[in-house]
Symmetry: C2
Subunit: 275 residues, 2 copies
């Protein structure tokens, strides 16, 4: 470990007033090889979110993401929503919302952790990294705020809406492009890399290349259109640490969908290895 890394780990500690928090990054590193569900608090009613929090906890998921690309009235809507979810589960809840220029990433102080994505493929420096500087300058993201997870966020597949809003260009999945991003994510020492599919699947080869280049402690998240245990297995086998899904449980029969996704062979084997 370099002096720099030691320093940042020191600043990521959580000794703030009244805040006896887990180290969520260490927790995620210790529970690799799993699925994580994302609840959109601006689409899913809080009662359903509470039920889902209980269900994913029972299913053995190591964390729950609260995330939305679109949000309004964050400050009035989110605290009660988060607290209701937190009361229903003992797994970490992680916030994941885009920043707003002038305001940075939105925060609920009671959250244990928040992802701070750097959109390495964006044309707009604000979304590439200045949003993180702004967030720290404003005191959001600074301990004892929720533990920041520095995340390199990359999108795959054309997505005009994200481009218009945040300047994100899709990463081409040729070896050279993928390796260049993986090397940058490693050099910058991000806690994690989050691969988003948009109208195109993240390939297992892309996962493999990232895993080869990233440092062992850096986490790899893969997401996008995951509906089957076979997809979960394929990503985990390709080196993803976490397979993320949101829409898969945005159906009336979400309990069945959850059971199906959690039947992935990789998950079962890893669970067995713990007994």
């Amino acid at each position: 470990m370099t002096t720099g890394e030691a320093s940042m780990e020191a600043t990521a500690e959580h000794d703030g007033p009244g805040a006896k928090r887990r180290d969520v990054l260490a927790h995620l590193r210790a529970h690799r090889g799993h699925v994580i569900h994302v609840v959109d608090p601006f689409k899913v009613e809080v009662a359903e979110a509470v039920q889902k929090a209980r269900a994913v906890t029972a299913a053995g998921m190591p964390a729950l993401l609260l995330a939305s690309t679109d949000y309004e009235d964050f400050e009035t809507h989110m605290p009660a929503y988060l607290n209701a979810v937190r009361a229903a589960t003992d797994i970490p809840t992680i916030l994941h919302f885009p920043p707003i220029p002038g305001r940075g990433f939105p925060v609920v102080p009671e959250a244990e952790s928040m992802m701070l994505p750097a959109l390495l493929g964006s044309d707009d420096p604000y979304y590439v990294w200045k949003s993180l500087l702004e967030t720290y300058a404003l005191g959001n993201g600074v301990p004892p705020a929720p533990q920041p997870l520095l995340s390199a966020a990359l999108t795959f597949g054309r997505d005009d809406r994200s481009y218009a809003r945040m300047g994100t260009r899709p990463v081409a999945q040729d070896e050279q492009s993928v390796l260049a991003y993986a090397q940058r994510a490693r050099q910058f020492g991000f806690d994690m890399v989050y691969l988003y599919s948009r109208n195109e699947q993240v390939t297992t080869r892309t996962c493999e290349l990232f895993r080869e280049v990233l440092a062992p402690e850096q986490l790899l998240f893969a997401s996008g259109g995951v509906r089957t245990p076979e997809q979960v297995d394929a990503y985990l086998q390709a080196g993803a640490d976490y397979v993320i899904f949101a829409g898969a449980l945005e159906t009336p029969d979400w309990r069945a969908a959850l059971d199906r996704l959690c039947s992935a062979g990789q998950l079962q084997r890893r669970a067995l290895s713990l007994t």
Copy 2:
């Protein structure tokens, strides 16, 4: 201008208590095509620094850098030193010091501006960018602190000492390597790019390539072993906005050296164009 850029410019304003400061970045953009001297406050006695501040002001330089790779007792040494220099000149004084893990970039609140270098070629994420996050998290670099100049700092030529300390690998001066760094500096929206020669000259071709890729508002600084007006001319003609020298004036006959360097043809032509 994107919303993101607008936002960061807003946070770079200086309306803090008692701080009626110039926008140093705008000032530097308005006085392109010049030389700037660097005083090392940990090598040069304050009386000499004051004389040099007067001399470079009389010579028409648009700013003065106070910089050192090595410093001790920054907090006790620097405020009086800076104030003595500031009293001797009306051009902006800009701090430029490396960060220390756990403490970020050192600050003298009275300085008008401070360069915050991101060492894009470093192997240590702290020096690549986490030092900036730490500095903002600590409240250094946040207005009304000295105006931050976000700087992509790149070193050319092998320098084992810098590598041991900050993990910096020299940039190779082939076209592909230079373009890759220039594109990154542009994408991240740095205010400026600072090219350092270490046991190897920054080539004029390297300056040209950076200038071609950088956005018009991004400033380009070239430095390293500059001793002659011909060197100054060559860098300015190649697209550098500022040519920086320190050692050239670290001699007893520094006034003669200053005159010689300021006799560069580019400087004269640009000065004439203002009349």
